[in-house]
Subunit: 253 residues, 2 copies
């Protein structure tokens, strides 16, 4: 049985503790956080505390707080022997003060109140000590079938890639919504297309899946599109993305 303590009460802390609660051989012994109201929500299946100086002993301490608080929170664990991990894609391993440290990064976006199937989420684990790495692999495998050893450099690049495919993609969805609303149309019209676009690259390389006016250098269509756009940032974005697609496929034209 692996005994764990979760530090933090945000969305990721909630999703993780929910998942671990159902896992065999893992015991969420304690959840520690400052926000009393949020903390209370963990009380049904774990001990809770808002005192960072009264953290239980455990095999693994999972710091699930904002990036810039990781270093400080890890300081409360300096006298512990268990493994101290953070859950961030962007922060290096060394931000953690205790020396038995690691990273436990689930590569997924977590939304408050929206359940997530952990079994398919890629877990990126990293640790300096070999034995600790094995423990983290076991812990991740208790909730996911998709565990990877990823070092800090690789993880930063992955996190950057995630910004492109998640944050930036979501912004393009919002442009789509805006264009629909302008025309008195429901954004629902675009939803099946959005799902299929994401679905398609599950089995096909996005480079191969690329279609559209820019892909086939259809200048007439691109010009009519630009005429339909009102906002400067949409025009700039349309031109830049079309140019990038054109360039990436130039050799094929």
């Amino acid at each position: 049985m692996l005994k764990i303590v979760i530090l933090g009460t945000g969305s990721l802390a909630k999703h993780l503790s929910n998942a671990f609660e159902k896992a065999k051989d893992v015991d969420v012994a304690q959840v520690v956080g400052r926000n009393k109201k949020e903390l209370q929500k963990f009380s049904e299946y774990s001990t809770i505390s808002n005192d960072f100086n009264a953290i239980d002993d455990a095999d693994v301490y999972i710091i699930a707080v904002k990036d810039d608080a990781i270093n400080k929170v890890s300081g409360y664990l300096l006298n512990k022997t268990g493994i101290v991990v953070h859950t961030s894609g962007a922060i290096g391993l060394k931000a953690i003060q205790p020396t038995n440290r690691g990273v436990f990064y689930p590569l997924q976006t977590f939304t408050k109140g929206k359940s997530v199937d952990f079994s398919t989420i890629p877990f990126c684990v990293e640790a300096e000590e070999k034995e600790s790495l094995e423990t983290l692999k076991t812990l991740a495998a208790s909730i996911s079938e998709n565990v990877h050893l990823i070092d800090s450099e690789q993880r930063k690049k992955l996190h950057l890639a995630a910004v492109f495919v998640n944050n930036f993609t979501n912004y393009l969805y919002s442009v789509g919504e805006e264009l629909c609303v302008e025309e008195g149309l429901s954004f629902d019209l675009l939803k099946p297309l959005i799902m299929e676009t994401a679905n398609k690259i599950q089995t096909m390389s996005p480079k191969k899946a690329q279609t559209g006016p820019a892909r086939r250098n259809d200048i007439k269509s691109m010009e009519s599109h630009l005429e339909l756009l009102n906002k400067n940032e949409h025009i700039t974005l349309y031109k830049l993305l079309s140019q990038a697609i054109k360039q990436a496929h130039e050799e094929e034209l």
Copy 2:
């Protein structure tokens, strides 16, 4: 029973004829196209012809060819009384020469060899004659539960929105793939995130779903990301999209 003729042998022609073949009260009487090899694939459930001067009489003629060939192909139907429709998002109704004309635009991306669930695909129909519009609605409803009356102006805007959420989004996926490959990582790592990002906005407005460094104006994270990027087009894109996200959420910061 609605009798239809499909003109064209590409991906959309195939997907449509497959769907209509299973529909009650619709008969794909003939498929007409120049490409004999592709045409042959339709022969198991329809009469085929590569002679555009020997088109059967039908209730609806569906032109599923490239945008710039629509006008020409419609010219072969000038002596017909049935409704002549094209299937393009970008082309106006008036590109069709016969006067009993309309549009039958499925808002989806179609991939060769990849089956699609037509029942959820939004069909945008348009026609000048009221009776023809009713026929197109009935035809669309025979394969989809998602039929909309959309005029040419709205359809052009929808098609533009589709470029943002499909073509441009797919390009962002390809940037994600490139960043993974550079680091010796599998693009598979990003696939669950891509699915969840698309899933999320099925029930939540993308503007509300927006997360990431730009959303919270986390300058430090954005600067480290920019340092990790090598290609100029990726850097420009990162800056532009971050700026646009920041601007869209400025009032909330």
